[in-house]
């Protein structure tokens, strides 16, 4: 593998700077461990977030914003009641539009069951009225009561409505997953800052010597930043691998499954976990750099 010269120079300089700070003691693995554990958790938060996102969009797509009113009435009453219902609907808040299906459409709907030659006119089949819901929607219970008063034979069928709170819950769950990822990232930054500060304090003597022989702050910081960034990268790579194995081992989706078995990555989603180690490295880089410069400014 060949690195671009600029990058190689940076790595070399960093390696060189790294040597002037003594290899740290028994706390070195803490950063690696933290980054690993946090990335592991992050994988699951990510899986949760993606799965609930998929669920939310699937469910809200399924929520065709339509309902059906079935009207059963004696033939001579049919048209009167249909008109009454339509005018009632036209004044109901939350209803965008409503129309009665024509006999032709009704025949079309029934065709699969009764064949093309069904004499619809002669049969006492109910009249169907399609209701398109506005946003926000109508009050289902209120509409039912008013229908009962106007046309006792009318039944409002809005079976898809119950899914709406579920779709909302899934949306919130996705948000929560995203929030968890942010919190995990912030926690990792905080822990790495603490570890970096401990390391800087333990090496105060070394930093003093370096300053006195003319080292710039950026040179001294680089030694610490490089070290912590590499540790975080290593830890996060291990954590991501473990998390991915964990997710891959979840049972496959089956009919009984629903939400829990959908908790995996699909398609390009499998690439997201691979972004986590570089992201952890960036977090470690920024946190250590900040801590180092803050500490260095306190020294002469």
């Amino acid at each position: 593998m060949t690195l671009p010269p600029a990058l190689r120079r940076l790595m070399d300089l960093g390696k060189q700077a790294d040597r002037v700070v003594p290899p740290s003691g028994h706390t070195a693995w803490l950063t690696t461990f933290t980054a690993g554990a946090m990335t592991f958790l992050c994988i699951f938060a990510l899986a949760l977030s993606l799965a609930s996102g998929r669920l939310a969009s699937r469910w809200s797509d399924a929520l065709a914003r339509t309902a059906t009113i079935r009207l059963a009435a004696p033939p001579d009453q049919m048209q009167v009641q249909t008109d009454a219902i339509l005018s009632l609907l036209s004044t109901t808040p939350g209803v965008e539009s409503a129309r009665a299906l024509t006999d032709e459409e009704a025949r079309h709907l029934l065709e699969p069951w009764f064949g093309p030659d069904l004499p619809v006119e002669a049969l006492p089949i109910p009249r169907l009225i399609e209701v398109v819901e506005a946003d926000p929607g109508y009050d289902g219970e209120g509409l039912r009561q008013r229908l009962a008063a106007e046309a006792p034979g009318a039944v409002l069928d809005d079976h898809t409505r119950w899914r709406r709170p579920l779709a909302e819950a899934a949306g919130r769950l996705r948000l929560l997953g995203g929030l968890s990822i942010l919190l995990i990232g912030a926690t990792m930054a905080a822990m790495i800052t603490l570890a970096a500060n401990a390391s800087l304090a333990a090496n105060a003597q070394v930093i003093r010597v370096l300053r006195l022989v003319g080292a710039r702050d950026s040179y001294i910081a680089r030694a610490f930043v490089r070290r912590f960034t590499l540790r975080a990268l290593t830890g996060a790579a291990i954590g991501a691998l473990a998390g991915l194995i964990g997710v891959a081992l979840l049972p496959d989706a089956d009919a009984a499954g629903g939400f829990l078995t959908g908790l995996g990555f699909t398609g390009a989603g499998w690439l997201l976990p691979f972004l986590l180690p570089p992201l952890a490295a960036v977090v470690a880089f920024a946190a250590t750099r900040r801590a180092a410069f803050q500490k260095l400014r306190e020294l002469p």
Partner: protein, 223 residues
């Protein structure tokens, strides 16, 4: 080069140094003397910007120290070699790497042959791979001097370089400093060892600055 103009320093309990005015001419050799606690170390710290004057001005290479950024200070220190009173090294690196440290942090590769020459000049050629904690007091002082000169600085400040070494070693260190002065370096040596000053004056035209009652005075030739 290094100039003080009415400079004062105060650690918080009243002024330790007041109205210090002096100008180090290029190639000069100064001793800085005075009783223990008089402020010799403090004055040297002002001269390499580890401390900033609490009043007056200190100018390093024509720039007022208060106007220097942290990076400027780092660059200035590369032009001033310092042998600190409490010599400190990176204990995990061998002597050679320690002596080379100013070059390393400046991002300059050192010539290994020059490093060897330098180490043998201070008589430590055989200890290149030794770790600092294993060195004696005299060896540490000479290593510190080697580290101070490796960047080929214009000025060398030595704070009690003979503080805890025997007389023979003191003379040896003095000889090194005199040699450096003959090479054109500006030298300041803080010491309370009057014998050392007498020895030096036999070899170079050294001037003696004495800190007395917070002020700096040019001491007479009667030392």
């Amino acid at each position: 080069m290094i100039a003080f103009e009415n400079a004062a320093y105060n650690y918080g309990g009243g002024e330790l140094l007041s109205e210090v005015s002096l100008r180090l001419a290029p190639g000069s050799f100064h001793f800085l003397t005075g009783p223990s606690g008089a402020g010799k170390t403090t004055l040297l710290k002002l001269a390499y910007a580890e401390l900033l004057p609490t009043a007056g001005h200190v100018t390093l290479f024509d720039r007022e120290v208060r106007g220097l950024s942290r990076d400027d200070i780092a660059h200035t220190r590369r032009r001033i070699g310092v042998v600190h009173q409490d010599v400190q090294f990176l204990d995990h690196l061998p002597l050679a790497a320690n002596v080379q440290l100013p070059l390393t942090v400046a991002g300059k590769g050192g010539d290994l042959r020059d490093l060897k020459d330098l180490l043998s000049w201070v008589g430590l050629g055989h200890l290149a791979d030794a770790l600092p904690p294993t060195l004696s007091g005299g060896e540490r002082q000479r290593a510190a001097l080697a580290r101070a000169v490796i960047m080929d600085p214009d000025v060398i400040l030595a704070d009690e370089p003979t503080g805890n070494v025997d007389w023979e070693m003191s003379l040896r260190l003095l000889t090194l400093l005199v040699e450096l002065n003959r090479m054109g370096k500006t030298i300041v040596v803080a010491t309370h060892d009057l014998n050392l000053i007498r020895q030096a004056k036999a070899q170079v035209p050294a001037r003696v600055l004495r800190i007395s009652r917070r002020r700096i005075q040019l001491a007479g030739a009667d030392l």
